[in-house]
Amino acid sequence: MKKLFWQISGLIILIAAAAAISLPIAADSTLPKISKLWRPLHLGWDLQGGAEITYRADLKKVSPRDRDSVMSGIVGVLEKRINALGVAESNIYKSGDNIVIELPGVADTEEAKARIGKVVELEFKEQGTTYSAEKLKEINQKNKELKDNAQQALGKALEPGADFERVKQEFSDNFSESQFTELDSLPYSQDIKDKLLTMEVGEIYPSVVDNFDQYEVVKILDKKKEQKEETLPEEVKAQHILIAYQESERADPTVTRSKEEAQKRAEEVLQKTKSGADWNSLAKEYTDEAAGKETGGDLGWFKKGQMTKNFEDAVFAMDPGKISDSVVETEFGYHIIKLNEKKAESTEPKTVTSLKLDIIKMEKVPEVPKDGWIETGLSGKQFKKAQVQFDEYGNPQVGINFNTEGAELFAAITKRNLKKPVAIFLDNGLLSAPTVQSEITDGNAVITGDFDYKQASDLARDLNTGAIPAPIYEIASRKVEAALGANSFQRGIQAGLIGLLVLMIYVAIYYRLPGLLADISLLSYALLAIALFKLINVNMSLAGIAGFILSIGMAIDANVLIFERLKEELQAERPLAQAIEIAFQRSWPSIRESNLSTIFTCIVLFFVGGIIRGFAVTLLTGILCSMFAAMIITHVLLKVFLVHSSLGKKPSLYNINRRKPNQQEND
């Protein structure tokens, strides 16, 4: 009795918690939430819509005949990655040249994007500053092809009625948002800028623009002219006489005087200028600046920042028409300065043209290694498996087992780079560059880095799902509504509830009191299952609902099996309490075996992934809950209401025809 009390209390708490989490089922229900434990039910793409992300593959390094297989490869890797994300069921398909991913819900789209779109390009590089002649030839060939491509893009864009955006979709490497840029700030040569200035909005630059590291096809999207105030800085016009000495910078070799002599001579010249001697003749006689002898040491107009510091400080401090108070020392020698004119800082109106350009960009392959590292040919393609392991200090790292080809390459690389660093690059970023201690021939390598455990296991997983065969980048992302319409899930729930109600009435009529108890058990089962769906973040799609319906069928089946047994045992004139226990014992093998075979099926289907995974998860969860409901909840309810209450003494409450002769003599 005491045991039964604790069982009942435990069940009540469990079911109350399940109800608190699961009711109301839908997030947009008009019913109030029961408690703070409530969690939303994540709905699948078909019921709720979600984010549609469009990726474009960069196929410029792929020869045209391989493009189809590379695209399929990308889709395959993306599929694996999406599966590795967990229970989220997503769609992935090729749309023209793009790849579209449909992610249900919108909750953690950013996180999902970060995981899905990763290139995961692992490369091993060695030190080097130039490419081999062979490699250079290859690069030049690629860049030539690239230029041909650009020419082709230009041709297509120039066709009458051509859609520039389409051509861009087809050819361009990236899709930065175009903004107004002042003509002067554009990274083009003056010729191109001049030509652009004469072109109208909508026109396309008539040839391929070779812009340092990329080829471009340029279209003018918009053009605006602005009147801008241009600031002119302070300027001075001055003359000087320079007295150099032997050690001073840029001194003429004929100058042999010492520094002291030079200073003394400069002081003399200064005195002469002060006493009114003609500047130009003094300059002609004394200055050591060859060009200054004829011009009187005229420096013309200059701004701040053009002259050496001491000279500048002195000259900008002077008043126009004056000669410097003292000689000015610089690294070139001693100067006597005459300031002729001075213009204060001023502003001047100017017409500035800004252009908004739409650009098809095709990045060239660089001809010199950018960072002092060159490819070894060993990459993430030549390994079997990656896994997280720990170094002797317990820091996580990622271990790699190479395949045969990779192992041979790695042995050769470590041999020729003994005591030199070999760099590991991930997605074109340097991860680490450990120094090779000895030749490694067993085909195992370790990637160390500043990892925490999650980063290391993410990397291992990304490496195992494989590198995307060509880089992809996101070109669009938008929210999309469910195809079935916003109310279809609500409608489905209502229909399901009506079905459940009819079913419960049927069970109650057929099995009477036990049937009513089974109804309570069924409701508890439904609450438990929905609470679990919410807790383990199942994405409930229509397939998931199918799994749930099937598990409802199995939940009923377990109860029905038990009650049919109970009937038989009661017909065999057993006492009620004993009949209940035997009914549970006897029906258990049937329940266990039929459910176990389905559980195995679910586990296999789970690993198929894709559209089947949601079905497998909900069915598995549902079956486990249904077994619990039938074997524990129904059992306890029967004991409470039939054995331990006066209700059990009324046989009419359980639809047993005791007069019916027992046809089978068991035991």
Binding site: Q494, I498, A546, G547
Partner: protein, 310 residues
């Protein structure tokens, strides 16, 4: 007690005819209509439209269906298949349908613009299948694994039966009933495809998996009772008698379980909306066939098979 075994020939004939009919339907469907596979399997066409923000999706669907009917008057081979309409933001509508040629695309877009002049085509592309051939291959392999597991598991669960019986035959008979259910349900859908252009979509696959689970569950319960009765077999009882006894003992359970599940599925079929109607129809049909096969096919096959050996 109902003597099921006296009419074994009748049950086998009915099932044999249904099975043969289904195979014929499946062959016709594959040969003539490529199985009526839906866009998810075959790939299709995706057109995006700019639309006014108060657009009624059902009306758009109606316009598309009308246009499809008009096009079919000229060329009955063209079909838009299952049309998927999704709104993105306030003013964009994504329409996915069966792959169509440029001419049909133009007609479809023109029909929509005629319906509402604010509807404008933004872009049209062909899209690849979302359920790729690789997934289907994986699934078929998984199904073979599942079948193997069921046979092995049942052989293990039924290992304590009398020596004269082979425990593997329980698994094999269950699998036979399962194949019977799946093939007949597929046959029915092929028939629906041939007359009403009902498509085979991923939901139908899920329905088949559900039927598979249901069929095995149903069969095992009967077999379990059969196993229990074998332990108390009297000398004058034949295997057929035992099968009949077991079936009678589990009959109420079989009918009640199937009926209750059937009620839920029927409610969803009637009230759950058009999008899940065929899915629920497949389940309803599967439940009927599954219940039938667990009573009239699985046990008789087991008995017939054992008799041959003894």
């Amino acid at each position: 007690m109902i003597k099921f075994s006296q009419h074994n020939k009748t049950w086998f004939t009915i099932s044999g005819l249904l099975f043969a009919f289904s195979i014929v339907m499946i062959i016709i469907s594959i040969a003539k209509y490529n199985f009526h596979l839906s866009v998810e399997f075959t790939g299709g066409t995706k057109i995006e439209y700019k639309v006014p923000d108060n657009l009624d999706k059902n009306a758009v669907l109606g316009v598309l269906r009308q246009e499809e009917a008009d096009i079919q008057k000229e060329n009955p081979k063209i079909s838009l298949g299952n049309i998927v309409l999704q709104k993105s933001g306030q003013d964009e509508l994504i329409v996915k349908m069966r792959q169509i040629d440029d001419d049909t695309k133009t007609k479809v877009s023109a029909a929509l613009t005629k319906y509402n002049s604010q509807i404008k085509e933004l872009a049209a592309t062909d899209i690849s299948p979302t359920v790729g051939s690789r997934l289907i291959t994986t699934m078929l392999i998984a199904l073979l694994v599942v079948l193997a597991i069921i046979i092995l598991f049942l052989a293990y669960a039924f290992r304590n039966i009398p020596r004269s019986l082979n425990p593997f035959k329980f698994g094999a008979a269950a699998i036979f009933a399962l194949i019977h259910d799946v093939v007949i349900t597929t046959g029915l859908f092929c028939l629906l495809g041939i007359i009403m252009r009902v498509e085979i979509d991923p939901l139908f696959l899920t329905a088949l998996l559900t039927i598979l689970g249901y069929s095995v569950q149903d069969t095992i319960v009967v077999f379990d009772r059969f196993r229990e009765n074998l332990r108390f077999q009297r000398r004058d009882q034949t295997l057929s008698d035992l099968a009949d006894i077991s079936l009678n003992q589990t009959l109420a359970r079989s009918i009640n379980t199937s009926l209750t599940t059937f009620i839920t599925v029927t409610a969803l079929f009637l009230l759950g909306g058009a999008s899940i109607r065929y899915f629920m129809l497949a389940l309803m049909f599967g439940i009927i066939v599954g219940t039938y096969s667990s009573i009239f096919i699985a046990s008789p096959i087991l008995v017939a098979w054992q008799k041959q050996r003894i």
